[in-house]
Subunit: 766 residues, 2 copies
Amino acid sequence: MSVFGQSVMRLEDAPLLRGEGAFAADIDFPRQIHMRVVRAEMAHARLVSVDVTPALDLPGVIAAWSAADVAEVPPIPFRATKVRGLEPYCQPILAQGRVRYVGEPVAVIFAEDAAVAEDAADLVLVELEELPALLDAAAEPTDFDATRNTEPTIVRKSYGELDAAFRDAHVVVALDLAIGRHSGVPMETRGAIARYDAAQDVLELHGTAKKQHWNRDEIARLLGRAPSSVHLFEGHVGGGFGVRGELYPEDLLVCLAALRLRRPVKWIEDRREHLVATNHSREQRHRIRAAVDAEGRILAIDNVFFHDQGAYIRTHGARVADMSAGLLLGPYRVPAYRATGHFRLTNKTPAATYRSPGRFEGSFVRERLMDAIAARCGLDRVEVRRRNFVDVSEMPYARPLDALGTDVVLDSGDYALLLDKALARFGWDARVADVARRRAAGESVGLGLGVFVEKSGLGPSDGVRMTVDATGAVELVTGAASVGQGVETALAQIAAAALGVDYRRVRVVRGRTDRIEFGSGAHASRVTVMSGSATHQAGLALAALAKQTAAALLQTPEDALEIVDGVVRRVDTPEGASVTLGEVARALAPGTKLSRDRATPGLTVESWFHSDHMAYPYGVHLAQVALDRGTGQVKVEHYLVGYDVGRAVNPMLVEGQIAGGFAQGLGGALYEEFRYDERGQPLSTTFADYLMPTIAEMPPLDILVTEDAPSPLNPIGVKGAGEGGTNAVGAAIASAVDDALGGRGQVTQLPIMPRDVLRFLAEGAA
Amino acid sequence: MSVFGQSVMRLEDAPLLRGEGAFAADIDFPRQIHMRVVRAEMAHARLVSVDVTPALDLPGVIAAWSAADVAEVPPIPFRATKVRGLEPYCQPILAQGRVRYVGEPVAVIFAEDAAVAEDAADLVLVELEELPALLDAAAEPTDFDATRNTEPTIVRKSYGELDAAFRDAHVVVALDLAIGRHSGVPMETRGAIARYDAAQDVLELHGTAKKQHWNRDEIARLLGRAPSSVHLFEGHVGGGFGVRGELYPEDLLVCLAALRLRRPVKWIEDRREHLVATNHSREQRHRIRAAVDAEGRILAIDNVFFHDQGAYIRTHGARVADMSAGLLLGPYRVPAYRATGHFRLTNKTPAATYRSPGRFEGSFVRERLMDAIAARCGLDRVEVRRRNFVDVSEMPYARPLDALGTDVVLDSGDYALLLDKALARFGWDARVADVARRRAAGESVGLGLGVFVEKSGLGPSDGVRMTVDATGAVELVTGAASVGQGVETALAQIAAAALGVDYRRVRVVRGRTDRIEFGSGAHASRVTVMSGSATHQAGLALAALAKQTAAALLQTPEDALEIVDGVVRRVDTPEGASVTLGEVARALAPGTKLSRDRATPGLTVESWFHSDHMAYPYGVHLAQVALDRGTGQVKVEHYLVGYDVGRAVNPMLVEGQIAGGFAQGLGGALYEEFRYDERGQPLSTTFADYLMPTIAEMPPLDILVTEDAPSPLNPIGVKGAGEGGTNAVGAAIASAVDDALGGRGQVTQLPIMPRDVLRFLAEGAA
């Protein structure tokens, strides 16, 4: 039985369980020095002066810099979408002339140890002249300063006859909805350890995550080096989620210091820093309207929204706004659509993507809208969704929109089927009856749902190099990264299945730019689709080469051979003459006769997979909640995530991704929010204020992974599994809470805090 | 003008001159522990017991092992020649049952710091029962112990009608000649720093040199690991020369300790250890006879020799004996030949190759023989060589012999021409006259010569990967190693010339097994020939790919394009439209249209060069010496090395190799010798006893590099330049000293020490 599709154990776990993981803080180099960042303490102020001299006087301090010392380094760039005009809003590595959010790097200290660096940072004299803080992205745009406006761009996408649809609509449903500011908060904060190897003229950056190759190229460009002289290394950092592994001022600062000071430079972010300095996400307000016919069928949607980017553009550019515009429609057939995304700057921490970016937001907005349509049309909430689904017969379904620079073509899917399966598994009908009984008994309980389409497998290209050594061990070198999702295991399974070996004999080398020239890291739920497909191809090519070579060694026709558990043998006489893959590799070593018949020796191939379109997995979230009428607390009593991933390489890993993703969605739905006071001072700078869900908050979670719609876009039929657990948590819980409140449509923003519930209950009672 | 052939500056020098070199002792890892080896203090003894407990009691000691603790590790293997039967004589990593030379590892200590480890080593109780030491390799073979004989094998090679030739000879010249035990003594002793990366399951060994890939494979095999999970890294260690970079017990011990103790383990050899533990070389005695006709033409040579291997076989197996047999004949036409090499074990430090192995010895023997033939036949020493040269018209000249597993086919060469050029440059005739005048005035002065053929470019295969990045920087990844010879510069020049870029834009990555699967390191004067040819091919292939891509970008036929200084431009309108190589690379990045037309993206190629035969450079050494009749000291007054390398990639580097090689030859000719007392105690364990030549001993050295005979075996015509400076120093100086003594043939062994000269002078006066 092929290991593809089996819930085998994770290859990643052994070192982690033995305490041999290599997290950023574990990485040390002899002679290393420590960096500490001096950060702005006002949200918006003129930067009158920075005096580092008092810090330099502290014994153990090696250097201290402010903006003037790093003036040659350009601001940090972003990965472009089709949105233009953002360049002037990128962040310099140290604040120049003005500070724009609390936490902005203003100066840096380099010292012999971390404690001295921290003490020295307190001695730096930063003179600020406070300016009014701009905090509301939905307020009218204004000039940030002479050259910059708080609305750098408006993201517009549209198709169809919108005005006509609204004119002809049976009803128009309009909502004003908001998603709160929250973000990925990984177990380990960011860290960056740079080292310059003068002997080789190579700059190394350790503790990196997620996007090594892109970061390598940009670090090289910003520091004026050849990219082949910069190497990034990933350990066990994990926790990408849109925040960790992006390129930040601190990454450049440690690199620059390693080059200038000729000593390794280590920086480890503390938690307070993390909560103000690392990318925030999600904060968006949508004024959305739907034109609907008499049967509850959508005729058009007009999606006006305000994206709160914070103080600067970061590496994601306008991707969240782009996807909020391009992917909002989800599984529904919408004849006309217009998105107007106001991309706005405020004096808050800069924002970027967070797991299921633009879709967590969009699903909340869209599914609130579907509930509202159901209510307005007097339809069942499930039925209104069924009526609007794109049908399986319409697949592939091209929507005249784009997202992340690709045309949106839903590749495959049977949304109605998954909804049916999910409702049946959840026992929806029985729960409806049960909820009705409990309500009658005075409880505030409710059911909610969210249906969604995810996106995954962003192209255009991904490649791997796969090699069998003389002992039959397989090395798979990929430009993908490990963010904890089990990439080593999944790729090893794909490789093993294609080649015919035990997956435990496949060592996956990832997140190292010195081992492979190109790579795309881990983001956009793309690794299993793109790197996985390249791995599958490589495995097949390697199997073909192994059989071709073994055919010569065994004097047997190639097509009479099969590879089973690392042994090439005859299909018809499996107990007969055979060679191991290690023996085949040795027969292809440099200098052998067989190797000379080929351009290059070795049992090795490099294979590339290309794709112009994303693959679209889809899902259903179902929630049952009970409200505590005394405290306003929302208790999630039961939850189901139904998700179709095309094909699951390792169902256990998919379930793990979904469970973890759900927890993150739950945080955004009920607990996590970065709040600011009226002067822009952050109020969520500890875990006492920024509330992460713990195991105590996790409800009974049922996960239904289906494989009804393999993607036609790749040879293994997979779709990304990384974001479906997060996507509709806000939508489904809002739906359920609203249902528990009587279905009045009171829930219009996330997170739904106890104070909100108490207010809603009071409104309902009024 | 092509950079190929120019004496451009070395790329290696900048970090070295700035003090940023990374020598083995400079390599540190956090949490590292230090290893100290407990060594045998008797040359031959039964190992009754080893008790490490007292060492373990010392605070800071982490572990201590004797043979029983490492019993699962097989003895260290060797690189085979056609000589068989040596396996039982390989060295275990810790002595088992018997110690066989002073310095043999008996136990190891691991401790928190190096001083503690050294103190602890003194506490280990080693009980020995002394046995007679066997020290004369020319003595009759005997049983070493029950299973082993002191003569593991006899190396035999022959062709032609030897007996008939000797029967028919006009004269038979017979000599008994000996070459002293000396070896490569690099500036930095050996060092090995092992680290186990549990997160990746990768074992790293740092501080390696010369043969990383072979050592990787053997370390993996001996420790039961997949070779792809073992990575070796080379820094600035340099100093291969047959000794450093070979695989020794200490390398295995640090690796094993890193795996077991889960901490980095560092070992740095001290000088005393180096002189008893690291490979010795050269000690060989030849009883050689030549059958000569009346015109001084050689009819046959019978070469019986005794090779003193020391106590164990090391990684070179019987290569020195193999080459002493197969390559002795040098530039001369010899109709019949027989070599009988008694490969003998003694209770001395094990031996291996040293720069120009088997040829330094063979040239001394052969050229002493030529001088003797000249004397016996009453011919001029130069004339007798001319008469016996293989003529240029006979090239390629196949000799029915093999060496290093390849058939000996002299690929090209005009020996007479080089001899003429060298004599002219040296002013031989004038010096003959001058010497005669000075002798008449009572001085003991003399002239000597040695003519030789070197070998180089051992195959079978070598490959490089060459990549241009988005800034036009070139990375050349090679499995070759840097032993100080300037490989980075030479390969960069070859790459730059073939591609059309500045050689300073080529960064050569070498000596790292994680960057390229296969490699041959640096030995056998093979790098420029084999890796250089692969580089040349890669550069041409990359140029072709760049032109093909640029042709599409510029809409110009490929053959109208040239690449000059990194720019692809039209030959006919160089000032017109053009693209840089960096732009070409960007056009081939993953996802681009042009990249998708190819199997793999990137401006990158891997190219392999194959060769079944060695290339044979050749040379002439000319020496003028004066003897101090009071002290017996030999003063080399003038020296010339003439060497034809086919083509010189960088003449300055060739000259540097020759000058350095000459100094090493000078040591073996006049100063360096590992001596033992009658119980096998080494007498040369400090630089006060083992005399290395210094700058004060270096004579005026004239170097004549010629390029008259490019090799037809490779596309760039090169032959190795590494060993010609060493090859005939012993031969030429012996010839000159003998001449100064009156040409009696008294000089029959190396080194020629002052006490020998005084004895010869006394004999001459008697």
